[in-house]
């Protein structure tokens, strides 16, 4: 759960120093999936920004304002100067707020990471929207697309007020979000991805919707290195289903193999859709995750 807010702190999710560092960072998407509306992100298309991009031959109908007259004077042929187009990028944060996230600070890290990505988006004039999914079939809690520093406080308030609990699987949550959301950019999915369902379809939908997938798997320490032994009855926190296992200690080796397989599978699905995937331990500090892990992985700069 979020820490008790301190009167001197802007938000209970980070301290002010971390926040100020976050304000100077921005997302580093692989693809430039942007919206038509102008923004701070340079699009791949030619634009009217001050950033020079290339030359091309003049064709009739082109805006003569962009002819490079210096070259024309030397070559006596018109060439068009092209500039990068700065367009707006949409940052969609999809938070898995089901019961499975209510373990070992998993959801706190989820909130903190969402806030961090949100701050980066807002302060770089991207549109940031947040969706938190609790219960299957119900409409996800939504932070409407916003931009600018002015929305930062609202974003923090929204994130800290999200109630964790419910049985919404992450694949349903993504589909629910895509029913509401419009806009291209980056979709950051914060979940433990421990789902019985198949993520192919929701990831395809995200890709089709022009969203670059950032999968962040948040696992607790007991999920990464479970220390159990003997005969146990495991109870699912979301569905209440039970599973009897014997000699749990002997199964841990297989568990680790399966967890690694899941990670590889998720990473591959993200990569196939020009996305990224990362597993983090909820026991790690948010500063370590953002300023060390994500920066080294090239997610942020």
């Amino acid at each position: 759960m979020p820490q008790e807010s301190n009167t001197n702190q802007f938000t209970s999710l980070f301290d002010n120093k971390t926040l100020s560092m976050l304000e100077r960072m921005r997302l580093n998407p692989t693809r430039r999936l942007t919206n038509r509306s102008r923004g701070e992100h340079l699009s791949g298309k030619g634009g009217t920004s001050t950033e020079f991009s290339d030359y091309r031959n003049y064709v009739p109908g082109d805006d003569v304002r962009y002819i490079d007259w210096n070259i024309f004077s030397r070559l006596n042929r018109p060439f068009m100067k092209q500039y990068q187009h700065e367009e707006e990028m949409h940052v969609v944060l999809i938070l898995d707020a089901s019961s499975s996230m209510d373990y070992e600070n998993k959801f706190l890290r989820c909130q903190q990471l969402a806030a961090a990505f949100g701050v980066m988006g807002l302060l770089n004039f991207e549109k940031v929207s947040v969706y938190a999914c609790n219960h299957k079939g119900s409409r996800p809690a939504m932070f409407a697309p916003s931009t600018g520093r002015i929305s930062m406080k609202r974003l923090f308030d929204f994130l800290t007020k999200i109630e964790v609990g419910g049985n919404s699987p992450v694949e349903d949550a993504v589909e629910d979000v895509l029913r509401i959301h419009r806009g291209r950019g980056v979709a950051i999915v914060l979940s433990d991805f421990e789902s019985f369902g198949d993520l192919q379809r929701p990831f395809n939908m995200l890709f089709s919707a022009g969203l670059e997938i950032y999968g962040v798997q948040i696992l607790g320490s007991s999920e990464i290195n479970p220390e159990i032994n003997g005969d146990l009855r495991l109870v699912d926190s979301e569905s209440g289903q039970t599973l009897d296992i014997s000699s749990a200690g002997d199964l841990l080796g297989i568990y680790h193999e399966h967890r690694a397989l899941l990670e590889d599978h998720l990473a591959m699905m993200c990569r196939q859709r020009s996305g990224r995937f990362l597993t983090i331990d909820s026991g790690d500090t948010v500063e370590h995750i953002i300023f060390d892990l994500l920066r080294r992985k090239g997610w942020v700069r």
Binding site: K106, G230, L232, G249, L251, G253
Partner: protein
């Protein structure tokens, strides 16, 4: 050997029914602790993994139950008291005879173990493998038999008795032990008797075996050299000629040196070099009139198996004259002995009082033979107890036959002796009647015995049933020879002309005050007391170890009596492979005794190990946790 074990207590298998409650309780008690996890997605895929559902993994799921079942099985097997059949008959009552005679102290050069220690090891192994219904009795065999334990299965008692068993410096005598075992067989059913020995005992045993004797012959010891005889004889010059015989065993040649100590002072030393199975007699001269204690010390030059035969002791008595009483009527004897300076003849002229005790009494009346004396010769009368068998007639007769090996008649020719008095057998009388009374016929006449010999409570008696003076005997050359033999015999009986070292296992009889208690201290330091009889004789005292025995008491002021082993058989370490009994021979067993091997302790150990494994398995750190 049958590889399938037998079970002594098969009824212990009923405990296998405990498996039922064990399994029931296992599943009843299998309350799995609940553990909430964020999601079962991963665990479900783990459980669905093919490896988890492999037979081995399924087995591992219940490994605790399996361990518990195995633990119970092994405990029940222990209770059933399994054993491995040796193939040999299992006797319920088993007497074990263990030879502990002198030769059992022999060691071999490699292991330095005595034969008795080897026997103890083998018997200990048997005791360790005793089955619950088996009872063992230990019997020590030396010159006599000693029952160490009653029939028991108490291993502590058996091992304690076995540990306390020591070698006695005495020769072996198997008969006593077998008779004792025969007596035991009247109370317990005894089929088989085990006998552990090195095989150094007389081959022929006068005994009818009522049971099977398993003769377990121990491996032979090394070479040995020892003293087998030690005696002395007074020479004509008044000195003592001391004779020592040293014998070597079969194994190897053995050099040695022999030293004679007279009252603790070395007086002679000689080197000997004996070949295999050789013996050598060595002679020394000792000058003493007042009596001496001699000690012969043999120092082997190479490995010597047996220690106890390397020392021997001999006591030379004080010199004195023989006291001889001759009836006045027997002039021929008096005449024959008159010139001997070493004799004092009684009765002397004009003297009626003689010594209280004589060495030799030669008398023509039975009354005179009542005087105390060592050797008595009655001449010319029939002893009162023989009157009903023999009568004396006045007829001429001669000698038909005589015992030429008798000490009295050695080198004596009686062929042409004419006798005027003829002893005649009464009707229905014969030699058997005399033998029944302890007499031995030395000379046979035509119609009856002429000379009888009787050993009577330490005294030696001879009876000429005719008057020798009324025969031609005194005129024959045989007469002085016979008188000389008589004197030699008396000297031997008096022990003043020839003396032999005393040997184990009995102290020589000594005379002290009648009906008194005497303390005896053995060479090993043990003390015990004995009583003299009404004649003052202290006799029958066991002397199981070579050395000096101290006697204290009334009339004995720390007197020393020494005994030695002096047994050629024990020194030779000769072993026999076959014991010849009255009817059947018994060969030494070719193999050691196989006893049924109990397995309950092994099964109990496995059960304990299983318990530890189960505890470890329950407590161990899960194998899947990465380090």
């Amino acid at each position: 050997m049958n590889i399938w074990p037998g079970f002594y207590s098969l009824q212990g298998a009923w405990y296998l029914f405990l498996l039922v409650p064990l399994i029931i309780f296992y599943f009843l008690k299998l309350k799995r602790p609940h553990k909430r996890v964020p999601s079962l997605a991963l665990w479900s895929s783990v459980i669905n993994d093919r490896r988890v559902n492999s037979p081995f993994q399924k087995f591992k799921r219940s490994i605790l139950l399996l361990l518990q079942i195995l633990l119970l099985l092994f405990l029940v097997l222990s209770l059933m008291q399994p054993y491995v059949h040796s193939g040999a008959d299992r006797a319920q009552y088993l007497p074990i005879l263990i030879d502990c005679s002198a030769s059992m102290a022999a060691t071999d050069p490699e292991t330095k173990k005595t034969r008795l220690e080897l026997a103890k090891e083998r018997v200990t192994e048997l005791i360790d493998n005793l089955l619950p219904n088996q009872r063992v009795s230990l019997v020590a065999v030396s010159s006599t038999a000693r029952r160490l334990t009653a029939f028991t299965d108490n291993q502590r008692v058996l091992k304690q008795s076995l540990a306390g068993l020591t070698v006695d410096d005495v020769p072996s005598k198997l008969e006593d032990a077998l008779r004792m075992t025969q007596a035991l067989s009247r109370t317990k059913p005894i089929k088989r008797v085990l006998f552990y020995s090195d095989g150094n005992f007389p081959k022929e045993v006068n005994f009818d075996l009522p049971f099977e004797l398993n003769y377990q012959k121990l491996p032979p010891a090394g070479s040995n050299i020892g003293i087998t005889s030690f005696n002395a004889r007074k020479s004509q010059s008044g000195n003592w000629d001391v004779f020592i015989r040293i014998a070597n065993s079969l194994k190897s040649e053995n050099p040695a040196s022999i030293e004679i100590l007279q009252d603790g002072q070395s007086i002679a030393k000689e080197e000997v070099d004996l070949g295999k199975s050789d013996s050598q007699r060595i002679e020394f001269t000792v000058n003493t009139d007042s009596g001496s204690a001699l000690e012969a010390v043999l120092t082997p030059g190479s490995f010597d198996s047996l220690e106890s035969d390397n020392r021997a002791y001999l006591t030379i008595p004080r010199s004195r004259s023989l006291l001889v009483y001759i009836s006045d009527s027997l002039a021929s004897y008096r005449y024959a002995l008159a010139d001997d300076e070493n004799l004092e003849l009684y009765p002397e002229q004009n003297e009626t009082v003689g010594p209280a005790e004589y060495d030799l009494i030669i008398s023509s009346s039975e009354n005179s033979l009542e005087k105390p004396g060592l050797v008595k010769v009655g001449v010319g009368f029939i002893p009162e107890d023989l009157i009903k068998y023999i009568s004396l007639e006045t007829n001429l007769t001669d000698v038909v036959d005589w015992n030429r090996s008798s000490a009295l008649l050695r080198h004596v020719e009686l062929n042409d002796v004419q006798i005027t008095e003829q002893p005649v057998w009464n009707e229905n009388s014969g030699v058997e009647d005399l033998e029944g009374l302890g007499y031995e016929v030395l000379v046979h006449g035509r119609l009856g015995p002429l000379l009888l010999q009787k050993r009577k409570s330490g005294d030696l008696e001879f009876y000429f049933l005719f008057n020798t003076d009324r025969s031609t005997m005194p005129y024959r050359i045989g007469f002085p020879i016979m008188v000389s033999n008589l004197i030699q015999l008396t000297l031997q009986e008096a022990g003043i002309a020839e003396v032999q070292a005393s040997a184990t296992p009995i102290l020589p009889a000594v005379e002290y005050v009648p009906d008194e208690t005497y303390q005896i201290q053995t060479p090993t330091g043990k003390r015990y007391s004995t009583e003299s009889n009404k004649n003052g004789m202290v006799s029958g005292v066991a002397a199981l170890h070579v050395g000096r025995y101290l006697i204290t008491g009334e009339g004995a002021d720390s007197d020393e009596i020494s005994v030695s082993l002096l047994n050629p058989l024990e020194t030779s370490l000769v072993t026999i492979d076959e014991i010849q009994f009255s009817e059947v021979p018994v060969m030494a067993a070719q193999s050691q005794v196989d006893s049924d091997k109990p397995l309950w302790s092994e099964f109990a150990l496995i059960a304990f190990v299983l318990l530890l494994v189960e505890w470890w398995y329950f407590q161990r750190r899960p194998a899947g946790i990465p380090t």
